[in-house]
Amino acid sequence: MPVIDRVTFEELKQMSGADFINELIDAFLDDAPNMISQMQIALVAKDVESFRRNAHSLKSNANTFGALELGMLARELEYMGRENNLDIGDRLEVLNEAFERVAEGLKEMRA
């Protein structure tokens, strides 16, 4: 699976306008680490709702950029949160690593 799906990314560029794709990438690279750390905090505090919501936001953004793997991982965590299950094993670390790859990929695509 490619880190970033080209078709989705091109559609995104078409929608935002090529001039604004960098603004979008910057917003994502800025916000996503915060979502991941909010999930970490929620996990410790056992705040299921905050955990689920941040996973949801991350999933939504990942899918917007065509970061399909990251999107799937975030979705899985969102669903676990929805079912009040915070027994997530090492999934958050796996997600963080996936995000690092996406961040690299997006930095390269930044015009």
């Binding site: 989705t8 559609e11 995104l12 078409q14 929608m15 935002s16 306008g17 604004f20 603004e23 979008l24 917003a27 994502f28 916000d31 919501r53 949801h56 936001s57 999933k59 939504s60 953004n61 899918n63 917007t64 979705r75």
Partner: protein, 347 residues
């Protein structure tokens, strides 16, 4: 599909910054003026402070979610006409169904497809524009209550049988009046005259549905059915005569020709519905009762009485309105003679 490219004033509501930027830039790229809100509370503040043509509303938001914003908007008479497109992730299909059932205009799945975005936004703006036009039209021809009711219940374009009172009003000897004065004077006369007649009709829950030359047709008891439409129609006619007296006093003071009118009212079953095109539609009614009302109005000249009504209308009047039976009249095109009554004018 034809799509209007007229720009709209749009509000994008999403707690997620990437989504806000994406939608705002995308829609600005289509020429729209876009504002954003980060949560439901901010969205409602913006909606109440300014006028918007369309809202794109995220379902999943902290504190006040999309459902809550949607429900508040739909319950607020000032906000309920703004179309709302819900935005949501594909795996929230149940939520989307819920929103549509609650009254959202449409929905868009995230990640948002640019072609669908454009199509749905244009379609919603088109519908909004049409509703605004209909509202203007109804506000002109009907009472605020009738207009609001129609806008609330939606427009049933199909025809239906309704029991209603139909009124025709005409200015006597209008042609000879026109010949004696300047064209501008005639138009001014008509505008002042119609303003009074509209007031009498809408003041008694009627709807003016046709104007032709100096003639006016109005309907009582439809499109919104209410009991007592026979009385309403006759009281409207009496008010017309009263208003016209004042009008004539003013005209005679200005040394202008005074006018007289004839009013005919018939009650019965009519076929009513909206006719026209999506750009120009009117509530109209047809049928024997309409035809009869027109004939009765025409008969006012012969009978030399300003208000004539049929028997069924007469039977619906309370005791304080007096009517005199003029006997049966055989109208052109009718098989049976019709009993006609002249309504007594208060002095």
């Amino acid at each position: 599909m034809k799509s209007r490219q007229e720009p709209g004033h749009l509000l994008v509501v999403d707690d997620n910054r990437v989504n806000r930027i994406l939608l705002a830039r995308g829609l600005e790229g289509h020429g729209h003026q876009v504002e954003t809100a980060e949560n439901g509370k901010q969205a409602l503040e913006k909606l109440r402070a300014d006028s918007f043509d369309l809202v794109l509303l995220d379902i999943e938001m902290p504190e006040m979610n999309g459902y809550q914003v949607l429900e508040i908007c739909l319950q607020d008479p000032e906000l309920r006409d703004i179309p709302i497109i819900m935005t949501s992730s594909l795996d929230e299909v149940d939520s989307v169904v819920k929103c549509i059932e609650l009254g959202a205009e449409d929905y868009l799945n995230k990640p948002i497809n640019p072609i669908l975005l454009r199509a749905r936004v244009n379609a919603s703006l088109e519908k909004k524009h049409l509703r605004d036009e209909q509202r203007k039209l109804f506000r002109t021809f009907a009472t605020k209550e009738v207009a609001d009711e129609l806008l609330k219940t939606g427009f049933s374009l199909g025809g239906e049988y309704v029991n209603a009172s139909v009124m025709f009003v005409d200015i006597r000897s209008f042609t000879s009046i026109v010949e004696k004065q300047e064209p501008a004077e005639t138009i001014e006369l008509l505008n002042n005259y119609f303003a009074l007649m509209f007031e009498a009709v809408t003041g008694h829950y009627g709807t003016v549905n046709q104007l032709e030359g100096d003639g006016l047709m109005a309907i009582f008891g439809a499109p919104i059915h209410h009991e007592g439409h026979r009385e309403d129609a006759v009281r409207a006619a009496l008010e017309m005569i009263e208003l016209l007296e004042g009008f004539n006093v003013e005209r005679s003071a200005q040394d202008k020709v005074q006018i007289e009118i004839g009013i005919g009212i018939a009650t019965g079953r009519v076929i009513a519905g909206y006719t026209g095109t999506q750009y120009r539609a009117t509530y109209t009614c047809v049928g024997d009762t309409v035809n009869l009302a027109a004939r009765i109005e025409n008969h006012t000249k012969v009978a030399d009485r300003p208000i004539l009504i049929d028997q069924y209308t007469c039977e619906g009047l309370p005791g304080d309105i007096k009517a005199e039976a003029l006997g049966p009249i055989l109208f052109k095109g009718k098989q049976q003679p019709i009993h006609i009554f002249a309504v007594k004018i208060y002095s």
